[in-house]
Point group: C2
Chain length 380, copies 2
């Protein structure tokens, strides 16, 4: 079987994170991605730390397996070449601030008139509409304004979720839009315009907090505690914390059995709503038991009993996690000589008939695939 | 224009969050979703707090506009009915633990033999393979094991990202897989199997942390600070913190101008790498200026100067944010009489020709659409 997106060509004007993450997902599903970069420095992510042998690990990860051509939107020869690329492409992805592409005659309206089947996908800080559409933004700005920071960390001490969740969610929703538009175009023959904002994407990741805030009382940051399930948080063993999350009555009963705690008939803990109302007390009672033994003792006992639990792993531990190894979720990014250089997250979308390779081709040099691309256009 | 997924029917066995979030995305794009629930209690999310007039706000949000039929997998009549539904469906979505569906003859292998065009999408705690495949999990477990908790919060005090980012990312990647398989099936005629694990999804959201940890030094939790961009964090104004994120040299220069700080020629702050190396010092210098005035003063000045910045909004503020209002990102969920009941996040995927409705139909009553579904099958 071929890759699900075999034959799909994506022209990618996007830089840094949200757009490149979307096109990485599409590339992992089989699309051919052509990065169109500005001559000279190219994608700003090429300079982001950490560097190894002068190459950005960050850039290498997000752009693995894509091709690159450097084109100046203002140069006549380059524009003619870009038009020929667009005429053969299925999708264009961009994350400029709204209005920038219009200055170059590359906005949706213009491109849709010229190439009616082309899908045009935009991700920007605030989306293409609304009072703040033209403002610049980044992940941290979206996390702050979108409620994620206030909901994260200890109460009263806002924290950033430890990954760029707003930018990545923006890229993920953009990829949904592109995929839905590709499916639709197979029937209609016409391309659509996708418009995603990082702030919108952040809100869409706050589903329970939005709902809770509207019903009241508004939820607050609560360390490791889950807002709607109890017990679900970090508890202390003799040598440090681990996470236990007993979402069903049966799991809670098994937890109590493991801890030799006679709680499951107590009316204060009889169902999740009752446990949630007494979550602070419940944590103390659990810890009175768990403090007696180290984490490894509890993790193996709880695992054997079918109670959801986990160590709080740092990134060094994550890189060696046997389940992640078995799932091919830490892959090697190769250099152009085929040598392993960087580690990167693998593809979380496993699909039958689609090979899940343990290594990925290198990210392109700036303008490194001009000759290939000319050949593909028939100039080779 | 019709909705991109018009005509697509999704049969949804999934419960609580990750699967229902995936089918909510598909429903927002135009798919018809039939929830198949166990008789009696149905989806466990129907009981999750907060409740309003006896209805779960959580369930109402995630299941808006879907239809429900209650079927017992072990009952012969129900099974015959389910088979007729599956024969007419395009996609089946489920989030049981691996092995559960096989006991009912509803696993991928069996269904693929009987219905070769049916796409089968599974999301589970650890995916369908690997040593931990059969273990139960939840969002908190995936966040802990996948590195998110250790990377979030103040150094040494792990925190949960304040939204169920692992479960939601699992649902989002599942939706990517379904959409890619639908596109592919339009050419091949054959369905595929999608397999997503919450732990895998969590890792895929840690892209920069995985890369950094492998190159070294491994990143650590840093409150509101961004690991690769400086300045990008919360800084103190006279009345509390706000977030500023100057990702480019030009933005940093404009920030310095607003703060009347003569730093942009200082070699310690000359580019992002230098600023990152001196991030703690830089924060002090910035705060020496920002502490002189309240947040509103700085937010309006920095906004006018084009420096990315934001207030740290709590959920009550988020619900009234004018940009989110303008983007239709806080929608009403109606009851079956058409009255507004709950607020929920809107659809972040804006697509041309697709109406972005400010209100959404109610979530179904358990078994509330049996008659409709029978009519659709031709029994009406």
């Amino acid at each position: 079987m071929s890759l699900p997106l075999a034959g799909v060509t994506v022209v990618d004007f996007s830089r840094i994170l949200s757009g490149p993450y979307a096109t990485m997902i599409l590339a992992d599903l089989g699309a051919a991605v052509i990065k169109v970069e500005r001559p000279g420095r190219g994608d700003g992510a090429r300079a982001l730390p950490p560097l190894k042998d002068g190459k950005s690990a960050y850039f290498a990860t997000l752009n693995r397996g894509k091709r690159s051509i450097a084109l100046d939107f203002e140069d006549e020869t380059d524009r003619a070449l870009l038009d020929r690329i667009l005429a053969r492409a299925d999708v264009v992805v961009e994350n400029f601030r709204p209005g920038v592409l219009a200055r170059h005659g590359l906005d949706w309206e213009t491109l849709h008139t010229r190439f009616p089947a082309l899908i045009h996908a935009s991700v920007s800080g605030y989306g293409q509409t609304g009072p703040d559409a033209k403002r610049p933004s980044y992940d941290a700005v979206a996390q702050a304004r979108g409620g994620m920071m206030a909901m994260t960390g200890a109460p009263g001490t806002p924290a950033r979720a430890g990954g760029s969740v707003a930018e990545l969610a923006g890229g993920m929703f953009l990829a949904h839009g592109v995929l839905a538009a590709l499916y639709d175009r197979a029937r209609s023959g016409t391309g659509r315009r996708i418009d995603v904002g990082l702030l919108d994407a952040q809100i869409a990741m706050m589903e329970q907090a939005v709902t809770q805030a509207a019903v009241g009382p508004a939820p607050e940051a609560a360390g490791t505690r889950h807002p709607l399930i109890a017990p679900s948080e970090a508890v202390a063993a003799s040598d440090g914390p681990f996470v236990v999350s007993a979402g069903t009555d049966a799991q809670f009963e098994r937890l109590c059995m493991c801890l030799q705690l006679p709680l499951s008939d107590d009316p204060r803990f009889v169902d999740n709503a009752a446990r949630l109302a007494h979550a602070r007390l419940l944590k103390r009672l659990i810890e009175a038991a768990t403090l007696e033994h180290p984490r490894s003792y509890w993790l193996s006992r709880l695992t054997a009993a079918g109670v959801p639990c986990a160590p709080i792993q740092d990134m060094a531990q994550v890189l060696k996690d046997p389940q992640l190894m078995a799932r091919n979720m830490i892959v090697d990014v190769l250099d152009r000589f085929g040598r392993a250089t960087f580690k990167a997250p693998g593809n979380p979308i496993k699909i039958s008939g689609m090979e899940d390779r343990p290594a990925r081709p290198a990210a392109p040099e700036l303008d490194g695939n001009r000759a290939d691309i000319l050949r593909w256009l028939g100039d080779g």
